[in-house]
């Protein structure tokens, strides 16, 4: 290959490699289990399974653009689920309970932002601490048990559907759309990406960098809460640790997303792709009957592979 077409090929791998990997994954699972995997029912199943993760990860994307990190989303999702469940059981209307719980979760996110952007703690340490604290609150108020017997009308968010479309998937689509607008179409999005690229230059350009970061944590808190509500509705019960897997999976999805479409920057389409890779891996390996421990190992390996591939392509391109 001459240098030109080689550079072109590397550029393609760099931007589309992860997407191609995803398609490959679909093909492999479809060939191995042509009867089960590609069926309409299974596809719907996958989408429903990933909806909550997609909602949470969309929020985490916003935080990670500025180079911050949010480990507390899992704890916030759990806490919000527990609070909503307790409020509903106390006789409050379903809608009111949900709204209050969302407000609480958003405030938890803003508190993260306050501690990190204004208090100067690193995002990692800050959200590690709040994660522990929020998780503790969830355990405390639920007394460590699962809360059942929620009002019937609460089911609609996680299990209902609007004609053919599951409500949870609609919420996911709405979330992705809103975050897309926020990141790509608003001045706020420009400020976020600018801070992620060079915080000092952004500050000298008049951007209130601390405020922007604070809001990002609020957004992340809000979507973690929304994810928590949908999850609680889907399981139709609230468990004080139900949201725990979000912490790592959301971060993994954003990291996978950073390898595609935009080099090295968190972006919403990339995150969505990351979420689907994680979802398809889990589903496909389950169908193949592979042990869950091995599944974890494979998922880890895939993430490393994807990130390596794109960084090698980036280096070679020089």
């Amino acid at each position: 290959m001459n240098t030109h077409s080689k550079t072109r090929a590397l550029a393609i791998i760099k931007t589309w490699g992860t997407l191609m990997g995803f398609l490959l994954l679909l093909i492999v699972f479809s060939t191995l289990r042509p009867d089960v995997f590609p069926s309409g029912r299974n596809m719907r199943n996958i989408i429903e399974q990933v909806a909550t993760l997609a909602i949470v990860a969309s929020g985490v994307t916003v935080v990670m653009i500025t180079g911050d990190f949010d480990l507390s989303v899992g704890a916030i999702a759990s806490l919000v689920g527990v609070v909503a469940a307790l409020l509903m059981k106390s006789g409050m209307s379903t809608l009111m309970s949900i709204l209050l719980a969302l407000a609480l979760g958003t405030s938890a996110g803003l508190l993260n932002g306050l501690i990190i952007a204004y208090g100067g703690l690193s995002a990692f340490v800050g959200t590690l601490a709040t994660m522990t604290a929020y998780g503790g609150v969830a355990l405390l108020i639920s007394k460590g048990t699962t809360i059942f017997a929620l009002p019937e009308n609460f089911k609609v968010l996680g299990q209902g559907s609007l004609s053919l479309l599951p409500v949870s998937v609609l919420i996911m689509a709405f979330t992705v759309f809103v975050v897309y607008l926020l990141l790509e179409q608003t001045t706020y999005g420009r400020r976020l990406y600018a801070i992620g690229g060079n915080e000092e230059a952004s500050f000298l350009s008049g951007i209130r960098t601390r405020q922007v970061r604070l809001i990002a944590f609020g957004v992340s808190g809000f979507f973690a809460s929304l994810g928590g509500i949908v999850l609680t509705s889907r399981l139709f019960s609230a468990h004080p640790q139900a949201g725990s897997p979000f912490m790592l999976n959301a971060a993994a999805a954003v990291f996978l997303g950073m390898t595609s479409f935009r080099e090295g920057e968190a972006n919403i389409m990339g995150t969505l792709l990351g979420v689907f890779i994680i979802g398809v891996m889990g589903n496909g390996l389950n169908i193949l009957g592979i042990n869950t421990y091995v599944q974890s190992i494979l998922t880890g390996a895939i993430i490393i592979f994807a990130v390596l591939l794109s960084s090698i392509a980036k280096k070679r391109q020089k």
Binding site: T187, G197, A201, L204, G206
Partner: protein
């Protein structure tokens, strides 16, 4: 001593997306010479140097070291051939100290097997600093050093290995004359040792003074090559930009108007009792040595540093900005000293960088108006003669001088009341520099007030209506810019009020 040809490059080509940065370049360097490499912004000088450093891969080209053909595919290869570099853009690791930065990528001295011998490292660093006669704080992270000190670290880095050919890409833009002289002394002694120095700059006086031969590049090609003794500044300029330039500075237009900003007894941790009045239409130069508080004064007026005592009136109302954001909304704007540190978001597009300060103007209800934004950015870019193939490209794909124009375009787009410029023409070629000066003059004639800080006193003398001299954070004198010559200027910088 080898005074013959030490390196010959033939048929060098490099294509970037959208630009042919180098088209078939032939060039050769000899031992014991200082070789000047000049050309407009984007001519391909830095690309050539980055290829030799093994940072960028050439598409085609042959390298002959002492007549023997060889390849360069990594920085190791470059070191093996005795090539040593000062790159145009500072690439320092911010949280490393000077020593660590100087030896970055070179071998650290070791003892007890693999352990770094810190004592020896410090000694070796001292030796390098002594040979350059500079004094650097060795233990502080370089992010805490001043712009000059950071530039000196980058220079010292080139001397951590014993090279044969030294490539210096705009090494002196952040230096004052004092440090620059030191650098020139070092260059002279390298030359006497039979080594080669390739020197890139837009300062034509320097080029004519220190080089033996000059190669002029334009649009990725060598357009002229001759002995320095046969060239004049004018012939150099016309070779560079393809036409003649009547004078370096555009003539004054407009008149000085009413007071716009008045500063009274301004003090903080770095400044003492500064007072002056800035009028609309006026260009005020700030004279002083590096470290005298020039940058700090601008930063204070821009809200980066806080004011302890003193008052500032802007348009007759009290002005005390708590952050750059507040300063900008009051119409006070700064072009910061180090563009890559404070001026640009390198990983974002040209469009985004130019509009970063003016987001409310290119949006409605917080939503971007993309078409409007692109048009505005293009207008601002054109007004500073930005050379870019596509405004959607990242800023770091631009040549150094064009990056500076992006910073300038960004501030011009705000149509500022008070525009403060810290080293505005750093790395900008003569032609474009003239354009930038014209824009400054134009802004002033439309009623803006301008404050200029520059280490190049010709720039201050060429632009300013008045010059305020400061020393160790205190102001020493303020003069109308009439009949001040170089020597007097320096006197004033040292705090003498009469020449």
């Amino acid at each position: 001593m080898n005074t013959g040809e030490v390196l010959r490059i033939e048929g060098l080509k490099k294509q970037y997306p959208g630009v042919q940065a180098l088209k078939d370049v032939d060039i050769s360097f000899s031992g014991g010479e200082v070789h000047g490499l000049v050309g407009e912004n984007g001519a391909g000088k830095s690309t050539l140097i980055k290829i030799l450093a093994g940072i960028v891969k050439a598409d085609e080209g042959v390298f002959r070291f002492d007549g023997k053909e060889s390849t360069i595919s990594s920085s190791k290869d470059a070191t093996r051939h005795g090539l040593s570099f000062i790159h145009q853009e500072l690439n320092l690791v911010n949280y490393f100290n000077a020593m660590e930065n100087i030896f970055l990528g070179h071998t650290y001295p070791r003892h007890y097997g693999p352990l770094v011998d810190w004592k020896k490292l410090r000694e070796q660093t001292r030796t390098i600093c002594d040979s350059l006669s500079i004094d650097l704080p060795l233990e502080k992270p370089v992010s805490h050093l001043s712009a000059v000190q950071r530039a000196m670290v980058a220079i010292a880095r080139a001397f951590a290995v014993n090279g044969r050919i030294y490539f210096m890409d705009e090494p002196a833009t952040a230096l004052t004359d004092v440090e620059k002289e030191k650098l020139f002394n070092v260059i002279q002694s390298l030359k006497e040792q039979g080594k080669t120095v390739v020197y890139v700059t837009h300062n034509l006086d320097d080029i004519l003074r220190i080089t033996d031969r000059i190669t002029v590049m334009r649009d990725g090609q060598v357009v002229k090559h001759s002995r320095t003794s046969t060239m004049t500044k004018d012939s150099l300029i016309s070779a560079m930009i393809g036409k003649n330039l009547a004078s370096a500075f555009p003539p004054k237009t407009g008149t000085i108007g009413k007071p716009l900003m008045s500063v009274e007894n301004l003090s903080n941790s770095l400044l003492r009792d500064i007072s002056f009045t800035l009028h609309s239409g006026e260009i005020l130069g700030i004279g002083g040595l590096v470290g005298s508080g020039r940058t700090e004064l601008l930063e204070t007026l821009f809200g980066v540093r806080s004011v302890t005592t003193g008052t500032i009136l802007l348009d007759g109302t009290p002005y005390r900005p708590g952050s750059p954001g507040e300063a900008i909304s009051s119409g006070v704007v700064l072009v910061p000293e180090e563009r890559r540190k404070g001026g640009l978001v390198l990983s974002r597009s040209i469009n985004e960088n130019i509009t970063l300060m003016s987001l409310p103007e290119v949006s409605r209800f917080g939503f971007l108006r993309h078409t409007h934004l692109r048009r505005k950015a293009l207008e601002a870019g054109r007004s500073v003669r930005l050379k870019a193939s596509d405004y959607e490209h990242h800023v770091d794909t631009l040549s150094g001088g064009n990056q500076q124009k992006v910073v300038f375009a960004k501030t011009v787009m705000r149509i500022p009341k008070v525009l403060m410029l810290d080293e505005p023409s750093k790395g900008v070629d003569v032609g474009a520099r003239f354009e930038i000066y014209s824009i400054i003059r134009d802004l002033a004639s439309h009623g803006a007030a301008i404050i200029v800080v520059s280490s190049d006193f010709n720039e201050v003398l060429g632009l300013a209506d008045r010059i305020l001299f400061i020393r160790e954070g205190g102001m020493t004198s303020i003069h109308d810019n009439e009949g001040i010559d170089q020597e007097q200027y320096l006197h004033y910088c040292y705090g003498r009020t009469h020449a």
